[in-house]
């Protein structure tokens, strides 16, 4: 169970060990997460607060997944791949979170995932709204508790109440891309529907956040 997420924020200069423990821990977590338990499997937890906590930790398998965190970076540069390395080429978020003038997300990312015949990269991800989460929605480097508080805070979640938050998590198609990321990319665990149910149940149980 993930109780704390620490993501690599930088790879230090001179050492091959640089990407060591931080990113590695995150990758292991992603791999180990496997499937997503349905919300119904949490009903055995009688205490609503404990159930809410457990539900959010389950949701954390998705939230902390590279498919999600890579586009919720703490800097102006997205991350890339299961190893969550800084995006190559070194693109920046730009004023509208859609890239810099002359090198916008759409320079490389189309409306759909594009399969490639090369052996180095199997597909280029795509979506009609491909963009970065605004900087106030950054998840990279934060604990699950911090992310939880953040996504409930309208000042840091794009002005959403809990219902709107559920709608975003359960039905936004860019969020949904995380489960259909194209060849060569591990999808987020479970399905968006199961994830949506977990978020719904978490809200219904008081939207309790893990500590720390």
């Amino acid at each position: 169970m993930i109780s704390r997420i620490i993501l690599a924020t930088a790879v230090a200069a001179t050492s091959a060990l640089a990407m060591g423990s931080f990113a590695q821990g995150q990758q292991d977590a992603a791999k180990a997460s496997g499937d997503l338990r349905p919300a119904s499997s949490f009903t055995s937890i009688g205490d609503p607060t404990q159930r809410s906590l457990a539900l959010f930790e389950e949701a954390g398998k998705v939230i902390a997944h590279p498919r999600c965190v890579n586009c919720h970076p703490a800097s102006d540069r997205p991350l890339q791949g299961n190893a969550m390395k800084p995006h190559q080429p070194p693109v920046v978020r730009g004023a509208a979170n859609m890239g810099a003038p002359g090198l916008q997300c759409t320079t490389c990312h189309g409306e759909k995932n594009t399969p490639l015949v090369t052996t180095s990269i199997r597909s280029v991800p795509g979506h009609p709204q491909w963009h970065l989460a605004p900087i106030e929605m950054a998840w990279e480097g934060k604990s699950l508790g911090q992310i939880c508080e953040q996504i409930k805070d309208p000042a840091r979640n794009g002005g959403k109440d809990l219902a709107a938050l559920h709608e975003h998590m359960a039905h936004d198609s860019l969020v949904g891309w995380g489960w259909t990321p194209g060849d060569g990319r591990d999808p987020a665990p479970g399905t968006q529907a199961v994830f949506g149910e977990i978020i719904k149940a978490w809200i219904a149980t008081g939207a309790v956040c893990p500590k720390g």
């Binding site: 190559q88 080429p89 070194p90 693109v91 920046v92 730009g94 810099a100 003038p101 002359g102 090198l103 916008q104 759409t106 320079t107 490389c108 189309g110 409306e111 759909k112 594009t114 399969p115 490639l116 090369t118 180095s120 990269i121 280029v124």
Partner: protein, 151 residues
Amino acid sequence: MQISINGRPRELDVDVDTPLLWALRDDLGLTGTKFGCGIAQCGACTVLIDGNPVRSCVTPVSALEGRDVVTIEAVSGPEAEAVQKAWVGLDVPQCGYCQSGQIMSAIGLLKIEPKPDDQAINDAMAGNICRCATYPKIRAAIHAAAKTLEG
């Protein structure tokens, strides 16, 4: 299928997953757009689609319905003129292979940001690799073109 290339409709007899790059080069004979990596890492294949720089090596022709593709062979307008004049005037190219893509990206930048500073140039041109490292001259040429556009 039919797509608009350089202002006129062109008929293509290729599979719809064919990257625009290869349709341009092999089927339409527009070889100014170059192949460098095939995975949108180097920018040599950059064209303008609806005025914005796009990597043609990862853009299937199926995505081009109703859109307008412009290549180095036909790019025009004040930004293009200013950029290409600066490129020649400063003798930017060495081997020259990446320069079509560099120029298309520079034009795309100047269309949105007519007076870019060094950081804006870095950000816009970060996706275009030049193994000859003509970067100092690319930077100087973009500044020179911006000056020309200022009038």
